[in-house]
């Protein structure tokens, strides 16, 4: 198993409501991260499905993610758990993550935190590579989020 945790935040001039609208628009967010394909909304703010595909040279990981919202408080915070597996590669991915919107003197602090773990074959071959990749994906996501909420 390779696991990691993250905690990032940025500040925006937008209100918490505006941030909430953007950061729960799953179709929009899906475009921010290269590895996420189509997102299906099963029940808004409750359950989603998403396809994930990542490639590193000849290596490919494909998984259908099942995403369940575990906590939410409009427009202040939301937590979810996403999990899925790639049977071909024999690996399983789990992400527990949350977002918090904290109003701060007319601005909003957007906070993300969470943990991820990759188990199975992939984890026996490249723990550091996975962490490296996860960091890059998070950077990509956050910079897009910050950009969109500027």
């Amino acid at each position: 198993m390779t696991s990691g945790s993250f905690e990032r935040q940025f500040e925006t001039l937008r209100t918490a409501e505006e941030c909430w609208a953007v950061l729960t628009d799953v179709d929009r967010m899906a475009g921010w991260v290269g590895i996420v394909g189509q997102v299906i909304t099963r029940t808004p703010l409750v359950a989603y499905g998403a396809s994930l595909e990542d490639r590193m040279g000849p290596f490919r990981l494909r998984a259908d993610l099942d995403i369940r919202v575990t906590e939410r408080e409009v427009p202040a915070r939301i937590r979810f758990r996403a999990s899925g597996q790639d049977r071909q590669v024999g690996s399983r991915l789990t992400v527990d993550a949350g977002m918090q919107l904290v109003p701060n003197a007319g601005r909003t602090i957007v906070r993300f935190d969470g943990t991820y773990s990759v188990e199975g074959r992939v984890a026996t071959l490249g723990g550091p590579m996975i962490r490296h990749k996860a960091d890059a994906i998070l950077d990509q996501f956050l910079s897009r989020a910050e950009e969109e909420l500027r």
């Binding site: 198993m1 390779t2 696991s3 049977r87 024999g90 399983r92 773990s117 188990e119 199975g120 984890a123 026996t124 723990g127």
Partner: protein, 760 residues
């Protein structure tokens, strides 16, 4: 004057092994044989909610898919000490990699493809991975229920009942007043030694072929213990031993890791449920998920006088034994006996715990509990010598037990001269020290160990002299590479006055050879050797009786000489002629049985003390932390080397495995997953890692109970290597840590030199 023993006679299995003709279990093909693949747990600790085998069952070539549900009519558990190990996981998985289902198909390729389609739903439980996880308050339980005793409870190991904890077994040994002695000591040195999780890496991965022949279960397996496996299979299927046959052809490495039962039940139930001959051949990755050696944390405090006399030693031993007990309760007991070394210790206290965790189950590995404790125990003495400013050889000599001293109460007194062994070692190790320039630094390290070895003295053997005078030896002992086929044949050839090529040996088949309890504990040469020696003598006595009848003379007048019998009046006949004359036709044989049991010279336990005296000289790169072992010396205190070349090969092999553990080998867990289940990331010693100066010394004082004064060897030279390497690194770098942990990878050496904690 011996003719054949004591000489480097060529191995009897060598020709088969250099031509590719030698048959191992992985080479066995049976008519109509099909292949099994195993579905393994993807979770470390979880309840099994459901298993969906539909797709697998409908896959091409698939004959059957089986889970624990299909084994309900059996008693599908094994474990020779604690019967805690289900053949296939029942309701719960306890480590990632645990077998959950078997898929049987006509080819291995299609069996594996179908196995990959089986889906299991789990309900995750918190996993217990390390020693501290297992013993903390409120730790999740790896096992919730009480288990029965196994079929092969070791003579001194009785499983405890630790319901409600993760402690599988505890052991305690104490004499004197340790607290008072430590309080009175001039110096007390405390060491925490962490010994890594190791994989024995026998190059032939576990394999078994099972089938029913005329209603009888027949299993061919890469096992060291065919008779013990038979007992466990008989219990699973609830049939008499006579209805189960187990045979071991050539075994591609064992080192203890093929002791007791491993994959045989999986093959056997597959054969039972399909009615076919079924082969299971694991990959190395799967073998690494089958068993490993116990990892350990050993804390030792030694109190000494200012001139280096040991006053007291206090050990706390914790073993991480993984998900199932296997032989580890017995290993723990031995670790208690073996951790404190061959020293006179007036006050001693040892407490040891065996802990279940959600990791690959641990079991026997060369040294059997000795290397784990020896690291802390011997490094601790070097550290004490350093603090006292005493030469480490001198400190040991001052405390070493003498031949005849009692190391353990009411056990066989020490049957070796360890001080003399140490002198031999140090003379070799200190010869011509190299001149080194920066950034390199040189240091030597060495250590001693004494193991109550030999396992249990239960051995039977048969020697048959045929109508042409040639001889067949039958022994249940397994040829695992240690050279048993050669050594046992040498003994018989010697006793019968025959050349080696007149003697053939049949081994390790419950149907073809007499009972042998185990092939472990360095016991084969000594105990099986004694059994075949007695069998040869009995066969010869039988032959003399025949000759006396043929020649109508008293048996006392018939003597054996140079492979023939001589009688009164110049009568002489070859062995074959005696047999055919007595039977009156061109047929028949003289038969001798040899038995060893706890009686006479093998009554006192242990049957012998296996001594380990070994050391290294190594270079440390002061900038990169890389270690290059420049020289290695071992002393094989074996009483008498029946085949010196084979014996030296055993010592060097054992020491080499010790170097692997000391410098590179380590199974690594990240959460519940073993992250390096392959030989790319689990690095064992290579040719390029070997020292350029190797001295395998044999000390032959004929002080053992075995044939011609032989004692067992082959494990001892591994035991001191870890501590020796650690002390050599400390001497080279000048840094003497209180906490030591193997393997000393370059990164660890680098951190040691810089006082830099792990940056991860």
């Amino acid at each position: 004057m011996s003719r054949i023993v004591g000489k480097p006679v060529a191995r009897v299995d060598a020709r088969a092994k250099v031509t590719g003709a030698a048959v191992y279990t992985v080479d066995v093909v049976r008519p109509g044989m099909v292949h099994a693949a195993i579905v393994r747990s993807e979770r470390a600790h979880a309840f099994i909610r459901s298993i969906d085998t539909t797709e697998a069952a409908g896959s091409p070539d698939v004959i059957g898919v089986f889970t624990a549900e299909h084994l309900r009519h059996l008693d599908p558990y094994y474990g020779h000490i604690i019967r805690d190990h289900p053949v296939l996981a029942v309701d719960k998985v306890r480590f990632m990699g645990e077998p959950i289902a078997i898929v049987v198909a006509s080819t291995r390729l299609t069996a594996r493809a179908a196995a990959a389609t089986v889906t299991v739903e789990y309900e995750d439980l918190e996993p217990v991975i390390g020693i501290d996880d297992a013993v903390r308050d409120g730790a999740p339980l790896v096992h919730e229920s009480r288990y029965r005793r196994g079929t092969g409870v070791a003579w001194e190991t009785v499983p405890d009942d630790h319901l409600g904890t993760n402690v599988a077994h505890e052991a305690h040994l104490e004499w004197g007043d340790v607290e008072a002695a430590l309080g009175a000591a001039d110096l007390t040195v405390r060491t925490t030694g962490t010994y890594p999780m190791l994989y024995a890496y026998a190059m032939e991965p576990y394999a078994a072929v099972a089938e029913y022949r005329g209603g009888q279960l027949h299993v061919v397996s890469s096992t060291q213990h065919p008779f013990m496996v038979r007992a466990e299979l008989a219990r699973i299927f609830q049939v008499p031993h006579s209805q189960v046959q187990v045979e071991a052809p050539y075994v591609g490495g064992g080192y203890g890791s093929k002791s007791w039962t491993k994959v045989e039940p999986l093959a056997a139930v597959a054969a039972h449920l399909t009615g076919r001959a079924v082969r299971i051949g694991l990959t190395v990755e799967e073998a690494m998920l089958t068993t490993r050696a116990d990892s350990a944390r050993v804390i030792v405090s030694t109190g000494l006088t200012s001139d280096g006399a040991i006053m007291a030693r206090d050990f706390q031993v914790d073993f991480n034994t993984g998900a199932y007990a296997d032989s580890s309760p017995s290993i723990l007991d031995k670790a208690v006996h073996r951790c404190f070394g061959p020293y006179r210790i007036p006050n001693l206290r040892i407490h040891a715990r065996l802990l279940y965790t959600n990791t690959v189950p641990a079991s026997s590995y060369r040294g059997f509990g000795a290397p784990q404790g020896n690291l802390a125990g011997e490094y601790n003495l070097d550290h004490a010598a350093h603090k006292l400013g005493i030469d480490p050889g001198q400190l040991r000599r001052r405390n070493l037990a003498a031949k005849g001293d009692e190391l353990l109460p009411k056990r066989r007194p020490l049957d070796a001269d360890v001080a003399a062994d140490l002198d031999l070692l140090l003379t070799s190790l200190q010869r011509d020290p190299p001149q080194v320039d920066a950034p390199y630094r040189y240091g030597i390290g060495f250590g001693c160990s004494a193991s109550d070895a030999g396992a249990f003295p239960t051995s039977t053997a048969m020697v048959r002299i045929g109508p042409d005078g040639s001889v067949l030896v039958s022994s249940g002992a397994v040829e695992i590479g240690q050279g048993s086929a050669t050594v046992l044949s040498q003994i018989v050839a010697e006793e019968l006055g025959l050349p080696m090529d007149a003697v053939a040996i049949a081994q390790s088949s419950t149907i073809a050879t007499p009972f042998e309890r185990t092939t472990n504990g360095s016991r084969t040469t000594t105990l099986v050797g004694l059994a075949v020696l007695r069998a040869a003598q009995a066969a010869l006595a039988d032959l003399r009786r025949m000759a006396a009848e043929v020649w109508s003379c008293g048996i006392d007048l018939v003597v054996a000489s140079d492979g023939a019998l001589c009688g009164p009046d110049g009568r002489a006949a070859g062995y074959g002629d005696v047999v055919t004359s007595w039977f009156g036709i061109d047929g028949g044989e003289a038969i001798g049985i040899g038995i060893v049991r706890p009686e006479g010279e093998t009554k006192a336990m242990p049957p012998f003390w296996e001594i380990g005296v070994a050391g290294v000289g190594l270079l440390v790169d002061g900038e990169t932390g890389q270690v290059r072992v420049e020289r290695l010396a071992t002393v094989g205190d074996v009483g008498f080397a029946i085949n010196p070349a084979a014996m030296e090969g055993q010592d060097l092999g054992a020491a080499t495995q010790g170097l692997g553990a000391a410098l590179a080998e380590q199974l690594e867990y990240d959460g519940g997953q073993l992250t390096n289940p392959n030989l790319v990331d689990y690095r064992v010693p290579r040719s390029t890692d070997m020292p350029s100066i190797i001295d395998t010394i044999l000390a032959q004082r004929q002080d053992g109970v075995g044939p011609y004064g032989a004692k067992g060897g082959g494990e001892g030279s591994l035991n001191p290597i870890g501590g020796a390497v650690m002390s050599a690194i400390a001497r080279a770098t000048g840094v003497w840590p209180d906490d030591v942990e193997l393997p000393m990878t370059p990164e660890r050496v680098w951190r040691l030199m810089r006082g830099s904690p792990d940056g991860r």
